[in-house]
Symmetry: C2
DNA sequence: TGACAATATTCGTTTAAACAGATAATATCT
DNA sequence: AGATATTATCTGTTTAAACGAATATTGTCA
């Protein structure tokens, strides 16, 4: 018996529009995916999701590093908050700062060996997660799902 | 030109599996949906998403109210944390507590008129949101998306 | 040179969430 | 009646995020 989103939400009434149903479905899926993920990161590596994301970004541009501004752009955070986040990561020696030689205002933040090791230790679980959470859906359907999500993301409006 | 999730993520490599792509897609969609929502609730009504959810739940069982334990079950929160959340809502007179007559250990938490008014004021925006965010995708495709998400939610594994 | 812009930081503050531990009040069961 | 369980609270603490405001340093440009 196929389970509808309304059923999952223990909602009596059907949805008033396909948009409503899709949005609620995405929100519910998100909640069920993100919470375990955040939990896992915290217990396993004592990282918040933002911290993990920043580390991932930095691994992506290793060994060049990124400026605080660039990090802020990619994570939609404001400069002072980036500074503090980097502070916390620096305190644990997962990243390091170096003044740029060419423009001495900017600071290059780069992931350290310890940071890379931490991420590498997490990688197997990160690899495992998709199958653990989505393994019960056929690959053809997952491809279809990705296709549709791509369309949703592409040109998604703003709210409010 | 269709946009893939890999493109949205500014990722060079394609995904190693459909599961990975779908999971990342869901996470990204979630982030882009949930952040504006949280932002909106905060600026418009000074509510956190958990607070809003609790109010919604209470509206659903108005005027009977729910015990703290029941609220905790539905929001996966511990009792002391429920108490504090209810504290905050009580301080703003959005909910009220009443000792149960039959079992004087339990406290019935119920949404107040003020809380109902607050929710009602939000409702139009809540109605508007789905179209604002997803209006660019055809209804047929959204129905398809909901169908797939339903399958994902149904029998989703656990992680770790 | 001097005004202005850009970059990162510092400081202070507020907030909600999360967790642990202890306690009061009441029910229930033997 | 007494032991135990349940329900909600209180207390204390830690944490990260978020916001505002100010500041030092450096670069840019007229």
């Amino acid at each position: 018996m196929p389970t509808t989103i309304a059923r999952q939400l223990k909602q009596r009434r059907p949805f008033s529009s396909p948009e409503q149903e899709a949005l609620l479905g995405l929100r519910m899926a998100a909640a069920r995916l993100l919470a375990p993920w955040a939990q896992f990161l915290k217990t396993e590596a004592d990282l918040s999701t933002s911290q993990y994301n920043v580390l991932r970004i930095l691994r992506g541009s290793h060994p060049h590093g990124l400026t605080c501004g660039e990090i802020g752009e990619r994570t939609v955070a404001r400069d002072p908050d980036v500074t503090r986040l980097v502070d916390r990561l620096t305190k644990r020696a997962l990243v390091k700062r170096t003044r740029s030689e060419t423009d001495r205002r900017v600071v290059q933040v780069d992931i350290t060996k310890k940071g890379l090791d931490l991420l590498r230790g997490l990688d197997p679980h990160v690899q495992r997660m998709p199958r653990a959470l989505l393994g019960h859906v056929s690959q053809a359907r997952l491809r279809h799902l990705s296709q549709l999500i791509g369309e949703v993301l592409d040109g998604m409006g703003t709210f409010p």
